[in-house]
């Protein structure tokens, strides 16, 4: 029979093991001191976060994502208890709420919510209202479209009245789109369904036309169109800085984007002479729009943690912070900043055009991610 002895080496090894594992063990009392957010990186303002941490004696931990589907996957895999706050846009918050990943919210606990632009006030902005219960499910944050930014010196402004501009052989090698497959397909869907005249026909889900809910025939036509477009593209940009460089250098003269690069181009302080950059928000076939939101996960129960979440959202949608986020991220805000903005900023950030959001098709979940993935793969392989 072997005798187990405790010697100095085993004690040292056990001590070292315990010390190494300490950072990975979180006691329950420490958990209440952390606010965990699943969010877009562009919206992090380090000094605002630090101030929030100081004022509330908490630690803010952010996890970043790019597209909604990625966030949705992270939220589902990690479970709603892994995060306190999550961001999403378009109709994604509705999906989160249906799947009980997020909880209802009360605007009365977030004082800054009284400053929303009329279109985003709770009584008007129905995208964040649960149809069954009437409960509010999140807070609008920034808004925008997926329009066309173009150099008016190289592209006639009239051309950008239509999405066909992005499929124009005359601009071959000088076009670019983002690498996001959902928006590439949805934008092409607007052009295809307009050409086919299929929007008014019965839709697969029995609801009014939505470019994210498409028939197989429409998807087939979209695939053909995107394959044709591929030969005209210089590249599909992965990030805004790349698109900024391509547009500024003149290598690309028209690109679909969220108007963020458009604003960065107009406000760049690099001493280079500015081209005549413009942005088409909505084309004659329609346009895609998004409203980024702040949502509270279902893992957050009533009490101190919810209050902490409300305080964070209140800070983030305060006029002072929203103005800075608009300038940093290059997006339009849902809070009314007109009284504290210059005339130039009002135009640049579309502050007087927020009503146009109602005419745009909101970002949504593809009707069949599997079919859409197949279409996208076929386009990439062609």
């Amino acid at each position: 029979m072997q005798r187990t002895t405790i010697n100095r080496r085993s004690v040292l090894a056990a001590g070292a093991g315990a010390a190494l594992s300490m950072p990975f063990i979180r006691p329950s009392w420490a958990q209440a001191q952390t606010v965990r957010a699943l969010m877009w990186e562009a919206y992090v303002l380090p000094d605002v976060v630090s101030k929030f941490e100081q004022d509330n004696n908490v630690k803010f931990v952010a996890t970043f994502f790019d597209g909604n589907s990625e966030a949705y996957n992270k939220l589902r895999v990690g479970g709603a208890k892994e995060f306190d706050l999550v961001q999403a846009d378009g109709f994604w918050p509705q999906l989160y709420f249906r799947e009980e990943l997020i909880r209802s919210v009360d605007y009365a606990h977030v004082p800054s919510a009284t400053s929303y632009l009329p279109e985003f006030k709770p009584e008007n902005f129905k995208v964040l209202t649960d149809a069954a219960s009437g409960a509010k499910i999140g807070y609008p944050f920034c808004w925008g479209a997926y329009g066309i930014t173009y150099d008016a010196a190289a592209v006639e402004p009239e051309k950008t009245d239509t999405i066909a501009c992005m499929f124009d052989p005359a601009l071959s090698g000088r076009l670019s789109t983002s690498a996001r497959f959902e928006e590439n397909i949805a934008l092409a869907a607007l052009l295809v369904t307009d050409r086919l005249g299929s929007r008014d026909k019965p839709r697969p889900d029995g609801k009014p036309f939505n470019p994210y809910v498409l028939t197989d025939e429409e998807l087939g036509e979209i695939q053909k169109l995107l394959v044709e477009q591929k030969a005209l593209l210089l590249t599909r940009y992965q990030d805004n800085p790349t698109l900024f460089q391509l547009l500024q250098s003149g290598a690309v003269v028209a690109a679909t984007e969220f108007a963020q690069v458009f604003r960065q181009l107009l406000t760049a302080k690099d001493g280079n002479p500015k081209e005549d950059f413009r942005h088409a928000l909505k084309m004659k076939e329609g346009g895609l729009g998004w409203v980024d939101t702040w949502l509270v996960t279902s893992g957050v129960e009533d009490g101190p943690r919810l209050e902490l979440c409300n305080r964070f959202i209140d800070r983030m949608i305060s006029a002072e912070v929203m103005k800075r986020i608009g300038e940093t991220a290059g997006c339009s805000t849902t809070i009314d900043l007109r009284s504290i903005s210059s005339e130039e900023d009002r135009k640049l950030y579309l502050m007087d055009r927020s009503s146009e959001i109602a005419d745009l098709f909101m970002f949504d979940q593809p009707s069949s991610p599997e079919k859409w993935e197949r279409v996208w793969s076929n386009v990439q392989a062609a």
């Binding site: 591929k230 391509l246 250098s249």
Partner: protein
């Protein structure tokens, strides 16, 4: 009776790495295989066993195209890297003198920065406004379109990323090679070409194959280089796998693609390992015995 200290040492040096490998290599691999036989539907995993994902891979031409693209690129990059590595390694070994070690360590300098950083800098170099095309435009020449967002750009990036690995491997092989053999062959009347083809190359073939594989395997699954530099027609198999696990959320199909890649890589390793004699790879030093 076994010495308890020895027993403890054996546990530490054998069991710990074994547990690490089981936890972080074998188990994830098993999970990947299981997932590949399930389905994903609307971003949800459906735990129903079927070979649908493999049928999709076998019947949908897109994935085959990605694979063939990757395969040709991996072969091209690996052969090119070996061809470029040989003269570099040969020069260091024969003419490096006392600076041999420093010269070989210089090969590791690119690894001091991250892969993404290196790719972004390369993007700046090869892009439409980059160093190469910028200079061409300045002197009134047309830009080189083929290096902008194309498979050629990916080729250049992959060679840049993996060339140091191949050079190091060939260098280590040559370092252990007894060059007196070449003198003997020359004395017997062999010309330089014959010396290389019949003495130097065959006796360093194992090291060369190892270098080839160290370049071939990661290139076959490359996802970052084509993403940053490949352009609209430059999607490779590894990039497509990343897409399945990322934005499209079709994890089960991505898992099946991963399993196929793993099996193919293992088969390539198996075939090439037949030609490898470890004593001649340069790593053991036994080649001198």
């Amino acid at each position: 009776m076994a010495d308890p200290d020895n027993r403890w040492n054996r546990r530490l040096f054998l069991h710990v790495p074994a547990i690490f490998l089981v936890l972080f290599f074998v188990l994830p691999l098993i999970a990947l295989v299981i997932l590949s036989f399930w389905q994903t539907e609307n971003y949800k995993i459906v735990r129903e066993w079927s070979a649908t994902n493999y049928v999709t891979l076998a019947t949908e031409p897109a994935y085959f195209v990605f694979f063939v693209r990757s395969l040709f690129l991996a072969i091209g990059v690996s052969i090119f890297s070996v061809a470029v590595s040989w003269p570099i390694a040969f020069f260091i070994v024969r003419h490096g003198g006392r600076y041999k070690l420093i010269l070989s360590l210089l090969l590791a300098v690119p690894f001091l920065s991250g892969e993404v950083l290196r790719l972004i800098s390369l993007q700046g170099m090869l892009g439409p406004t980059g160093l190469v095309n910028g200079v061409l435009l300045k002197i009134g020449s047309a830009p080189l379109r083929f290096i902008m967002y194309s498979n050629w750009a990916t080729f250049i990036a992959l060679v840049y990323l993996y060339l140091p690995m191949v050079v190091t491997t060939v260098y280590l092989s040559l370092l252990n090679f007894d060059f007196r053999l070449t003198s003997a062959a020359s004395s017997c009347g062999a010309n330089r070409f014959q010396v290389f083809c019949e003495i130097v190359w065959p006796l360093n073939l194992s090291g060369t194959i190892v270098g080839f594989l160290l370049c071939f395997i990661p290139t076959l699954s490359a996802s970052l280089a084509p993403r940053f530099l490949g352009g609209p027609s430059g999607v490779l198999y590894g990039m497509s796998i990343a897409q399945q696990f990322g934005e499209s959320g079709t994890w089960a199909l991505g898992a099946a693609m991963g399993v196929v890649l793993f099996l193919f890589s293992m088969a390539v390793l198996g075939v090439f390992s037949l030609g490898i004699d470890l004593r001649r790879t340069g790593f053991t030093g036994m080649g001198r015995l």
